[in-house]
Symmetry: C2
Subunit: 400 residues, 2 copies
């Protein structure tokens, strides 16, 4: 199998600054969205944690992040190629996928750049879409397991491979920064019992809508959203990870010594090769009620209601504990869960916390998962502003 | 395959309080050790980070934790059974293991209870051996890969299995709390390219010594030491995790609602079934110079030398960054590494940090790995005091 190398088109451009900078508008594509609760004018974070919202609905609530326009695909003629190091190459259509055993998993999906705004605000400027705390959703996903598809094709050991990966590509739509969107995860993860990697045909019991990847996307619970290729049309078993820009250059936690965009572009981006591609999500929590700069009126006991969501780290879910502090970490109260968190789902939590009246007050949240991962007060700054998982916070509150 | 259930002998006794409470002393066993830098009279933590100590040596430097006495095994007659859901049961001897391709991996091995003393001191009393910060070592391990052994036997899907595990047992020595010591990891982990699970015949280029598991032990980089069965004599492919006490009852991060030993023993220990067995290690760092209650003399610039080690979380290594604070987290300096950290190794680090003169001063360390995991200031308290990975700290310093 020939692995596509990062070519001249694959320079990392400044396309992450704005959610609306797409120049590609071709027949058959609708305009891309790349939006969510973090965008001005988009629905607020608190819709994500509203009553009955354990599964994130449609419409403007769920975040959307693409690196291409949204293709309109004919499900009757759509083909998913299975190739690379396999005994038998396959051309599957949607009916073939439906004929396999269907597997359902509730999983949170989070953009690696969720909470970038917090990193930028509390630490230092970063390069990327200014996501607030809402670039996450929690859905029920349903479709065949990737390993059942690979079993049809028969996996062989790639020649000269260092580590076997399974690539997930959408070749039918050109991207901002590469000829197509591609991602990969390890073969281990794809074949795993516990990791439940699927080709999702449904979200929350309904056929996927175009913005969520119709007719089929990959879903890898515990792994960042950027690997969950939408409009999937190729699965490739290969001896190294995807060479796509979004695997090899974007979505990496660069060292703090990389301070400017020039630094990471220096020497044709040599720094990227020294840093692994992000895969597993990090333990995280955010506060939705109240949010930044709000006025909070205390109840007669001097308490405020606080509510948010929490996401476990990688395969270490479920979230088992969320604590909330109204006094800068001197004391913490344990939140209660609204509903039940599962291994890959988020937890929606609420608590009552004591606050002092005045200006510039703040509240922190801190989650722990079953694997013992606990949020740090602040995570390491990186130029791309990815992987922020410091304490959830609501800042600059006016408390009456 | 018949999975042994937790039987009447398998009650969790109070055997973790003392490192020297063993009643079993039978012919053929030497006295067990269960000791390390955390014990009174044992060598100090700083031997672990001494010059040239990137690989932890023999003698009293390396920690030792067994749940049985140390058996003296004849390597010429020792047999490792491979059974369970396999096409062909095997009886392998050490020469058979030596005849397989040998794989070498440098990996830190850490007791789940490392730093228990810190949890007990900073948070609340816990039940378990009073490990300080030295229940960890970093060694080069060499032996055949577990997956190569399993390939000889041929893995089959266990009947009625929920998740396939590979059990690693030592049946030749009775344990404190069960009839034998057993552990398991997922088949996924055992078969993984990247996880490098081996049957170690050598440590640091030499035949294992009895206290490290002679003639063969399992080593699973990224996973807590309790799964790394010493004196291995059985490998079992099974449809659920090991039913051994040390998998099913010990080494779990219980919820904070479990406040006393009675709580976790209530209803015949029903709480244990609701909590997953610990597997992956958590990002961690400790300070070896200075340590608790020491007197530190500042240099003319008002700076102190600080040195320690850091261990990455699970498969998310290497450690990429260690920061040190002498002012309670208001400012952090970046440590430099002594030598090079690899994916599963620890990092030995040092830094110079500004300190104020006076009593009761303290220093913090905080590590981040390539997966973006950062230590929390404090991790969640749990009755067994396992998985502590709050900031490394040197407390109660007198600074001159």
């Amino acid at each position: 199998m020939k692995v596509q190398k990062v070519g001249p088109r694959a320079k990392l451009r400044s396309s992450h600054h704005s959610p609306h900078n797409h120049q590609i508008l071709e027949k058959g594509y609708s305009e891309t969205v790349n939006s969510g609760p973090g965008d001005p004018g988009r629905p607020s974070l608190r819709e994500l944690v509203a009553e009955g919202s354990f599964l994130t609905g449609d419409g403007l609530v769920a975040y959307d992040r693409n690196h291409s326009l949204t293709p309109r695909i004919n499900r009757d003629t759509h083909i998913i190629k299975v190739n690379g190091s396999v005994k038998k190459e396959l051309n599957l259509n949607i009916k073939d996928l439906e004929a396999l055993p269907q597997h359902e998993v509730v999983a949170a999906l989070q953009c690696a750049g969720n909470r970038r705004h917090t990193m930028r605000t509390l630490q230092k400027e970063v390069v990327g879409i200014n996501w607030l705390d809402g670039a996450a959703m929690n859905c029920s996903w349903r479709g065949p397991r990737v390993r059942d598809v690979l079993a049809l094709a028969g996996v062989e050991s790639p020649k000269g491979g260092k580590q076997t990966h399974v690539g997930f590509n959408c070749r039918s739509v050109p991207c901002e920064d590469d000829e197509y969107f591609g991602s990969s995860i390890t073969l281990d993860a794809a074949m795993s019992d516990e990791k439940e990697v699927i080709l999702a045909l449904q979200r929350n019991g309904k056929t996927l809508s175009p913005r969520f990847g119709f007719p089929v996307r990959m879903i890898a619970p515990g792994i960042i959203g950027a690997r969950a290729t939408k409009w999937l049309d190729e699965i490739t078993v290969q001896g190294e990870e995807s060479q796509n820009v979004y695997q090899r250059r974007d979505y990496k936690i660069l060292p703090e010594t990389v301070q400017t965009k020039d630094d990471f572009l220096a020497n044709d981006g040599a720094i990227w090769d020294t840093v692994p591609a992000m895969q597993e999500t990090l333990i995280n929590s955010v506060i939705a009620y109240p949010t930044q700069e709000e006025t909070v009126t205390l109840d007669p006991d001097g308490m405020a209601e606080v509510k948010g969501y929490a996401i476990p780290g990688g395969y270490d879910g479920p979230v088992v504990n969320v604590q909330v502090s109204g006094d800068g970490g001197k004391s913490w109260v344990t939140a209660e869960f609204v509903g039940t968190a599962t291994k890959f789902s988020w937890a929606i939590w609420k608590a009552r916390v004591k606050l002092e009246r005045g200006e510039k007050r703040f509240i922190w949240s801190r989650a722990t998962d079953a694997g013992g991962n606990t949020q740090p007060e602040m995570s390491a700054w990186n130029i791309r502003g990815v992987g922020y998982n410091g304490y959830g916070d609501a800042r600059d509150l006016t408390v009456l």
